[in-house]
């Protein structure tokens, strides 16, 4: 008791620990939802008393009532989806399928550790992942144990890593995760790992399967062409990292030397440059598998052994040398010359000038090919802009040859059976707005399989177009459908209603709206884009004598003529009845760099392919208004507007968000509800949107968690699952995630809208219902501009219709389950390099006809599958477009994407009638998101955890003098509340619903610590005081005169 020094010290220790506990408590509660996501807890839940009408309470019904059902449901769909996402690129002499019990030898580091999914964003769940060798063995393949042992030895001391974002385990090894090195093992290295690696070749010789792969995912630095893209010592076939390295080729040569049958699996989502494999007669089969997901190698095995016939088609163009695409001329880090003049928080780094215009992917290759065939020029090519026959870069001026450029065209894909398609009829409506196309597909082979109906069109390229710089692709996808599984001899006829708005061209110079030229038009079917174009060329009278790569079939093309003047009326009004006119060609929100720096860029034109081939636009400096806009602080707030008529914080109404469940956007009660919300409540909501829907107490909106991403929840597990608000009884047994399917790009390659719809229902929709995540951030719908971006796997395709209709299907499926989707990213997130802050420039025609056309399909609920049209049960589908979107990190033109009024307001809110939730990417409330400008442009929330200190106006006081921003806040409240009221956020809600805090383990821990250390501090002080008092008394009594005596007492 008298050891006062001990109590004194303990009091100090306890006070330190008390402080730490208070800090921990404060931080944990501030970031509660993130903590929940990270450690798998549920710190808040809603409690709803029973209602008279349960059906009204549970608007959206999960089909999974137990964790087991959920686990099995996600798994079943993942496997079934995967089977349709593998594109057979080569199959000589029916090398495939293999027998179900084939004895195979697997080559390549990726044959043991394939790329299951993205390295970041939409990552696969390592806990669920069934490894390639286990999946193959389970399906009956017998794998060469000696070769497998070598790879096992290599990975014996290595472990799977953790995802860059989200939680859990990523089924990937850090040691072989690289953008500039395939990390393949040499034969010598294999011999060191297992000297007998090759001893069983003879007994496992039904086939050699070589797996080659490249990683991809969010946040990657990306692939670079040429030497810059290769690590030291890495040499490749074309000189680019997307072709095969010497080490990979050595394995292929080893396989060819020892096996009669060599099959190559391409485990990459970036288009690989594999012309040498296509040309090699000793390579029997090539199967593109992309990123199959956690269970996807079951599907690969099912395709290899013929359980299912492959039915995927490429959604991107495979070039011999993708680095020669015109889009690649301006790619990567091209900094502003005066980037250093800007504050760091403005996030001004580089720019991207997309001088290729509309000519990305097949639009470039097929159009240049068509022009050469038609004698319109385009054959002459300057050194460095075209490919040699072997895919290397031509170093002298010469002739551009389609056959030297392309390996597999967009839409290409083989099957184990053969199909015959006939173009039965085409009817163009008198208003020009729709076309009805009927196609019959017959299985003419001897194996069951699914076929894809691809419908393309061609619009004329006229003198008007040349005069006003309107470009036309010689062929463009209009719509697609996938057949049912057709037995041999079986036929299916599909009738498609084609939206002809997608054939209109945007003329920013003269008409300043969409136009339709007079002239000859063509609609054609084809096995791929090149085949369809050849059919059109055949209908135009061209043959191989004109330079065509193959004869076309004119019967598969339909021609019609539109006479008269250029039609600038038919497609000048959107489906929402809003006039369409320039939004991105001039003014502050222009995307055309020429609007700021006149005559800077020449856009690629088919009127002079070689002369307008893009140059690299480097060394630009931003001055004047351009610099002001880049600063992201370009609209001054008023401080003295008359805002007396604007009502915030009204307390006279009893209306709550619960009352608005399912309400229309035009419901008059919204005004009454919104008047209850204070400015500060909106600001608090808007600034706490990192995987979170913040509460708005005045209207009874409860707080919810949200999560990324397009392929299922990145952070949550079935252990948190519930049905009707009651946790699964068997939850503890299912520590698995919902992100188990093949990557989104694979899904697009299925060309199956119904399957995409189902993926929306399950992958996003059931993630919402099972894990109580009203917002799922996805799908990703940016266009693939070229082959080298690292994040293509999370997006769908190079084509806006394939992207748009697959995305639309996913969204419709997800929204049928109440998911508030966040399409990402609006817009133009065209590369990961400098993605935060990069200023993306292009002309308005490109913007509208590629990226925005893809997004438009989702916002307008377009692309309804033909099979849904006459299905009564699907009558309610495709009636509401996407209700949520996430803007992009990049700038659109000069300003933050969320602040670009041209895209966010004029086009999205106006033309597309988008009335939903619009959140920034992970910016927080910071200058890089231009917060006040973004609120004015319809941003409803800022994903992030913080308010940057330099945003000094982020308060009720700071904004209350500006009428425009207060009105924008009211509009934004309307948008976000409407979206939430029509989502699963209202699921299980009735008038009794309230949220309650849950005593999670971390909450108990920090509270207990606070209690213990508070008591410890107080107790120590008390005992110190008592000790002093006793000693003082003792001293006064003279009984304490020695240390010894004192201690004894």
């Amino acid at each position: 008791m008298k050891k006062t020094n001990v109590w004194r010290g303990l009091s100090m220790i306890c006070s330190l620990l008390l402080t730490v506990s208070l800090l921990a408590g404060n931080i944990l509660e501030t970031y509660r939802t993130s903590v929940d996501a990270f450690v798998g807890t549920r710190s808040q839940m809603t409690v709803t008393e029973t209602s008279d009408n349960e059906e009204d309470t549970w608007t959206y019904e999960s089909e999974f009532k137990t964790a087991e059902e959920a686990y099995e449901g996600f798994k079943e769909l993942a496997i079934r989806t995967s089977q349709e996402t593998y594109a057979l690129l080569k199959n000589e002499n029916d090398a495939l399928p293999l027998s179900s019990d084939a004895k195979i030898t697997m080559f390549g580091v990726r044959s043991y550790a394939p790329v299951y999914g993205n390295t970041g964003g939409s990552v696969p769940d390592g806990k669920s992942t069934v490894e390639i060798f286990d999946a193959f063995a389970e399906r009956g393949f017998q794998i060469n144990p000696s070769m497998l042992a070598a790879y096992e030895a290599y990975f014996a001391d290595k472990e799977w890593t953790t995802p860059q974002f989200g939680g859990g385990i990523l089924p990937a090894y850090e040691e072989i995760t690289s953008y500039n090195d395939p990390c393949e093992l040499t034969l010598d290295e294999l011999a060191e790992l297992n000297p007998d690696y090759n001893k069983d070749y003879a007994s496992y010789n039904d086939a050699a399967i070589v797996v080659v792969g490249r990683i991809g995912g969010e946040g990657g630095d990306g692939y670079y062409p040429g030497e810059a893209g290769r690590a030291e010592g890495v040499e490749t076939v074309t000189g680019n990292i997307l072709s095969l390295s010497n080490e990979e080729m050595a394995l292929i040569e080893e396989a060819k030397a020892n096996f009669d049958k060599v099959i190559v699996l391409v485990n990459a989502t970036n288009q690989m440059e594999i012309a040498n494999l296509q040309d090699d007669p000793d390579i029997d089969a090539i199967l593109w598998i992309g990123f199959p997901g956690a269970y996807g190698f079951y599907g690969v095995a099912d395709v290899l052994n013929g359980t299912v016939s492959p039915s995927a088609h490429l959604g991107d163009t495979f070039a011999k040398n993708s680095a020669l695409a015109p889009a690649m001329q301006n790619y990567g880090n091209i900094p502003w010359e005066n980037a250093g003049d800007f504050s760091e928080t403005a996030n001004v780094n580089s720019y991207l000038i997309e001088a290729e215009g509309i000519y990305t992917g097949y639009r470039y290759y097929e159009t240049r090919y068509a022009d050469i065939v038609m004698g319109n020029g385009g054959a002459e090519a300057s050194a460095g802009t075209y490919a040699n026959p072997d895919g290397t870069v031509a170093t002298e001026d010469g002739i551009w040859d389609y056959s030297n450029e392309i390996i597999y065209p967009f839409g290409y894909g083989l099957s184990y059976t053969s199909f015959e398609q006939t173009l039965d009829s085409v009817e163009i409506s008198g208003s020009k707005e729709t076309a009805t196309v009927t196609v019959t597909t017959t299985n003419t082979g001897d194996t069951a399989g699914k076929a894809v109906v691809q419908v393309y069109a061609q619009a004329p390229y006229t003198d008007y177009d040349r005069q006003y710089h309107v470009e036309k692709s010689a062929v463009q996808l209009m719509d697609f459908e996938k057949t049912e599984t057709l037995e041999p001899g079986e036929s299916q006829t599909i009738t498609m209603q084609i939206d002809m708005a997608n054939l209109a061209s945007y003329d920013s110079e003269n008409a300043q709206t969409y136009i339709v030229d007079p002239g000859d038009y063509y609609m054609a079917i084809g096995d791929d884009s090149h085949d369809a174009l050849n059919n059109i060329l055949a209908a135009q009278g061209y043959t191989t004598a004109d330079g065509m790569t193959a004869e076309g079939n004119a019967d598969k093309a339909y021609q019609w003529t539109w006479d008269g003047e250029v039609d600038a009326d038919t497609f000048s009004v959107s489906k929402a009845g809003v006039e369409i006119t320039n939004a991105l060609s001039e003014g502050d929100y222009a995307m055309d760099i020429n609007a700021f720096l006149p005559d800077t860029v020449t856009y690629l034109s088919r009127s002079d392919w070689d002369g307008t081939f893009p140059e690299i636009y480097s060394g630009l400096s931003a001055e004047g208004r351009l610099a002001e806009l880049l600063g992201n602080d370009f609209i001054e707030l008023s401080t003295d507007d008359d805002v007396s008529d604007l009502v915030f914080g009204d307390t006279t109404s009893d209306l709550t968000i619960n009352d608005m469940k399912g309400a229309d956007f035009d419901d008059p009660r919204w005004e009454e509800l919104i008047n209850k919300v204070t400015v500060q409540e909106f600001l608090d909501f808007a600034s706490n949107a990192f995987h979170n829907i913040a509460a708005i107490p005045s209207i009874g909106l409860m707080q919810y968690a949200a999560d990324d991403g397009p392929n299922g929840s990145d952070s949550h597990y079935l252990t948190e699952g519930s049905y009707h608000g009651v946790p699964y009884e068997d939850a503890a047994d299912y520590d698995y995630a919902t992100r188990v399917g093949p990557t989104p790009q694979n899904i697009a390659y299925s060309w199956n809208k119904e399957l995409a719809y189902e993926n929306g229902e399950i992958t996003l929709g059931e993630s919402t219902l099972v894990l109580n995540l009203p917002i799922m951030i996805g799908p990703g719908m940016n266009i693939h501009r070229h082959a080298y971006n690292s994040r293509g796997a999370e997006y769908y395709s190079e084509d806006p219709i394939l992207t748009g209709y697959i995305g639309s299907a996913v969204i419709q499926g997800a929204q049928s389950k109440g998911t508030l989707v966040n399409i990402k990213h609006a817009a133009f997130n065209d590369q990961e390099i400098n993605r935060s802050g990069i200023a993306v420039f292009m002309n308005e025609q490109k913007a509208r006809e590629l990226e925005l056309r893809g997004l438009q399909q989702a916002f307008e609920a377009n692309g309804k599958p033909a099979s849904f049209v006459n299905d009564e049960s699907m009558a309610d589908s495709y009636t509401t477009g996407a209700l949520g979107v996430m803007s992009s990190y990049n700038r659109i033109g000069a300003v933050a994407s969320s602040a670009n009024v041209g895209v966010q307001v004029q086009i999205m809110r106006g033309e597309w009638d988008f009335n939903g939730y619009n959140v920034t990417d992970f910016t927080g409330v910071a200058l890089k998101a231009a917060p006040k400008e973004s609120i004015l442009a319809g941003t409803t929330a800022f994903c992030g955890m913080s308010i940057s200190d330099d945003i000094t106006y982020w308060s009720e006081e700071g904004l209350s003098g500006d009428r425009d921003i207060l009105l924008a806040i009211k509009d934004n409240l309307h948008y976000l509340l409407y979206a939430l009221a029509n989502s699963a956020a209202m699921n299980g809600i009735n008038s009794t619903t309230k949220s309650v805090d849950v005593m999670t383990w971390w909450r108990v821990t920090y509270m207990a610590c606070i209690g213990v250390f508070a008591v410890g501090t107080a107790g120590s002080i008390l005992l110190y005081g008592l000790g002093r008092r006793k000693r003082s008394r003792a001293k006064n009594n003279g009984s304490c005169c020695s240390k010894k005596q004192y201690v004894r007492k």
């Binding site: 020094n5 009091s11 860059q164 990190y889």
Partner: protein, 144 residues
């Protein structure tokens, strides 16, 4: 005896210097770099400055004030240091959230501000630990 008192005083002096260094870092990171344009929270400044003054008072007035008074002053100084630490950390949590959890290229100056701040926080903790150590050391009357 004198040696023990001197050690005690040195401990408090070192604690004061550590707190002062932590405070300088707090001020530096608040008025320069990433946070230069943000409003400065003066509470850590006030509390830490007061703590340093109290600790220096104890050091330079040793022998002139009672052990009880010295204990109270040091305890109060410790509480003030912890309060400063609390405010300091809370003011930098958003930087840590940005730097460690936002998956994009945050400004380098933000990471710099955070990492320098971490050094400052460490100095605050060192200061408090030194006070804890001196608290466990016996005073004059406790060794009589």
């Amino acid at each position: 005896m004198k040696n023990r008192v001197e050690k005690n005083a040195y401990g408090v002096l070192l604690a004061a210097l550590a707190a002062l260094a932590g405070l300088i870092i707090y001020i530096y990171t608040s008025v320069t770099g990433y946070l230069a344009s943000s409003a400065v929270n003066y509470l850590p400044f006030i509390s830490t400055a007061a703590a340093v003054i109290l600790m220096l008072a104890v050091v330079f007035m040793r022998g002139k004030i009672s052990d009880l008074a010295a204990d109270i002053i040091i305890f109060v100084a410790g509480v003030l240091i912890l309060f400063g630490l609390y405010e300091f950390v809370l003011g930098r949590v958003s930087l840590a959230a940005d730097v460690y959890f936002i998956p994009v290229n945050y400004p380098a100056s933000e990471a710099e501000a955070l990492h320098i701040s971490i050094a400052g926080v460490v100095l605050y903790i060192v200061s408090d630990i030194l006070l804890i150590v001196t608290a466990f050391m016996k005073r004059t009357e406790e060794t009589e």
